[in-house]
């Protein structure tokens, strides 16, 4: 479901620091379970203080990648570095990385307070410091009232906050979150997305957030790492990954798109009677055009000099979504496309449509057809 509001992360785009400091470096990491090659040659850099989402379907390897960074698995090949320290050789209890687990993993035999205090008790931190820091952490996640409660008596959302506090009280350099919102109902999820984003900004710790929900990733992240079948499809900001997807998978996984199979000759892409200029080499290619880039043709654009592609199509179906309309159209040659326009009067019959050639993005086909 696309909304017309601008995702929060893109508002912040303009405020990001100019030179990101590299915090974690994953170098050519691979991992195999039995005969299953879960991760192949993954290289990724995580900047200090950034909110990075690892986005992918189930089986894509995203949780495995997280566990490699956390230390619960060792890579079969490749290295992981944090600053000048080689991380993949260290056990999890020696890494300055903390994790928020999918099912929170709160210790049932300890109170909320003791759960949050756990890492400090282990290090034998003096009592008053423990109290002070735990109270501060609980206040940060608004769970002060529940300090003496038992984890079994608080709700899922509350458990998650405690898990957050427990991980953050440690002052880690990197926080890993393994689909922490997937167990929450939709409303709570929305709320937590915003809260987490705000928290991350406030605390300034780098968050690596694993999710399968592309909308969630788009809302929360500074950058998205799209993972498919153990390989990174694209690593980019939400805006970039949406407007300039690198592959057919990226184009289809995030948002909706029209994939046009074109034939390029002499730097002209041709498809179902449409033509536009491109820098792609000769031969077959695939272009992605977002449905909202296609608009009903208007005479105004003919005079602007912008390279505009026009086509004539018949309306097949129309879905009214309030602010937007989703139209499925078919050209004379049988090409079907999806068009998204502002809602208005009902449309039918045959119409002219157009899109800007600049909105046609060349994408690599990484999927086996």
């Amino acid at each position: 479901m696309r909304t017309t509001s601008i995702p929060a992360s893109q508002i912040g785009d303009a405020e990001k620091p100019s030179a990101p400091v590299e915090l974690l470096s994953v170098r050519s990491v691979a991992k195999q379970f039995g005969s299953n090659m879960v991760l192949r040659d993954i290289s990724l850099n995580i900047a200090d203080g950034e909110f990075l989402s690892i986005l992918g379907e189930s089986g894509s390897g995203k949780t495995t990648l997280l566990r490699l960074i956390a230390g619960f698995e060792r890579p079969d090949s490749g290295e992981i570095w944090m600053g000048a320290e080689r991380l993949d050789r260290l056990p999890p209890y020696k890494r300055r990385v903390n994790t928020v687990f999918q099912n929170y993993a709160l210790f049932p035999h300890l109170s909320v307070f003791e759960n949050v205090a756990y890492s400090m008790r282990v290090k034998k931190t003096p009592k008053n410091e423990v109290s002070a820091r735990v109270e501060q952490a609980l206040a940060m996640v608004k769970m002060t009232v529940f300090a003496q409660a038992s984890p079994s008596r608080i709700s899922g959302g509350q458990q998650q906050r405690v898990a957050l506090a427990r991980a953050l009280v440690n002052r880690p350099r990197l926080l890993l979150l393994d689909e922490p919102l997937s167990a929450l109902d939709a409303n709570l999820r929305r709320q937590m997305q915003l809260e987490l984003k705000a928290l991350q900004r406030e605390v300034g710790v780098a968050f690596v957030f694993v999710t399968h929900d592309q909308e969630e990733a788009m809302i929360m992240s500074d950058r998205i790492a799209l993972l498919r079948a153990g390989m990174l499809e694209q690593v980019a900001t939400p805006r970039e990954i949406y407007t300039r997807p690198a592959t057919t998978y990226a184009a289809q996984f995030i948002g909706q798109t029209n994939l046009l199979q074109v034939e390029v000759k002499n730097h002209i892409a041709e498809c179902a009677g449409m033509r536009w200029a491109t820098s792609e080499p000769d031969g077959p290619a695939t272009f992605s055009v977002r449905p909202e880039c296609i608009v009903p043709a208007s005479s105004a654009t003919l005079t602007t000099g912008v390279d505009v592609v026009r086509f004539h199509a018949r309306m097949l179906t129309e879905v009214f979504q309030g602010a937007m309309q989703l139209l499925q159209v078919e050209t004379a040659s049988g090409l079907r496309m999806i068009v998204k326009t502002a809602g208005g009067k009902a449309r039918s019959g045959e119409m002219d449509f157009e899109f800007s050639a600049a909105d046609a993005v060349s994408v690599r086909n990484t999927q086996r057809t």
């Binding site: 209890y93 903390n98 210790f107």
Partner: protein, 282 residues
């Protein structure tokens, strides 16, 4: 949802049977303890508390009871020391051999008690395997008499019997601990050893209580091991009861001792049940 006829047919037979053949006998045992026996070996239904008075008055009963408690306590402690690390190993460190190892531990449990006690007799005897082995290796020159027919032999036999019994509930409790908790503990900076004491042990306490109770109660009331390997110095409280129902014909007194044992055991079960509830988190 179920008709009254169905409920009656289903619930009545077992309840009736249990009342008749379980509740009544236990109550009867209790009643017997208040009766007396004539020198002519006749049970007289005259209600009195003489039997209990005698238990308190004559020192041998308390003496043997204390010894039984000591033996039962030692057996339980040793069974825990042997059984807990084994359960921890099989549950957390056995990898794909876990199922096999579990079955290996269970198997001795199912081999006849008598067979196992008898085996220890053959090992510990003066002509037994252990003694002849020690002499063969020139570690000792004469058979060590104290190995058999002693409280030590009773204890050893009972530890052998009850270690698997203690293993089982501890293993079940350990298996119930979500592995995510161990990972979370490591994630937060605790080493495996710290994780063991701070997370695993507390969560396995109900299993330990269950196993220890079972082992203690059954060791306390055991009469077979003392008869086989205990000798005169290894007599336990149940042996006294057995003889009171046999050659030393005094059923009421035997019933009194049994009633005391039963009261002790029930009190213990009640106490440990509450303790277990307090420590049950998963």
């Amino acid at each position: 949802m179920f008709s009254r006829a169905y409920k009656l047919v289903v619930a009545l037979p077992p309840i009736a049977w249990v009342v008749l053949f379980l509740l009544t006998p236990y109550v009867l045992l209790f009643a017997y303890s208040f009766w007396a026996v004539t020198p002519a070996q006749q049970i007289v239904h005259s209600w009195n508390v003489q039997n209990y008075a005698e238990l308190l008055r004559v020192p041998v009963y308390l003496h043997v009871l204390l010894r039984s408690v000591r033996i039962a306590g030692s057996v339980t402690l040793l069974a825990l020391l042997l059984g807990y690390p084994l359960a921890y190993y099989v549950s957390f460190h056995a990898g794909n051999r876990k199922e096999l190892l579990y079955q290996l531990v269970i198997i001795p449990l199912w081999v006849s008690y008598l067979v196992r006690a008898y085996a220890w007799k053959t090992i510990l005897g003066s002509e037994g395997v252990l003694n002849t082995l020690l002499q063969y290796l020139h570690v000792t020159r004469h058979p060590q008499e104290y190995l058999l027919y002693s409280p030590f032999a009773v204890m050893l036999t009972l530890v052998h019997i009850y270690t698997p019994f203690v293993f089982l509930p501890i293993y079940a409790a350990l298996e119930h601990i979500p592995r995510g908790l161990v990972e979370a503990s490591h994630d937060l900076g605790a080493s495996p050893m710290q994780t063991f004491w701070r997370v695993i042990v507390p969560l396995s306490i109900p299993g330990m209580i269950a196993g220890a109770t079972f082992s203690f109660v059954l060791s306390l009331g055991d009469f077979l091991a003392p008869l086989l390997v205990g000798g005169p110095s290894g007599i336990m409280i149940s042996n006294i009861v057995v003889s009171l129902f046999g050659t030393a014909y005094n059923w009421p007194l035997g019933a009194a001792i049994s009633a005391c044992m039963m009261a002790l055991v029930l009190a213990l079960l009640f106490a440990t049940e509450r303790l277990e509830k307090k420590w049950r988190f998963t």
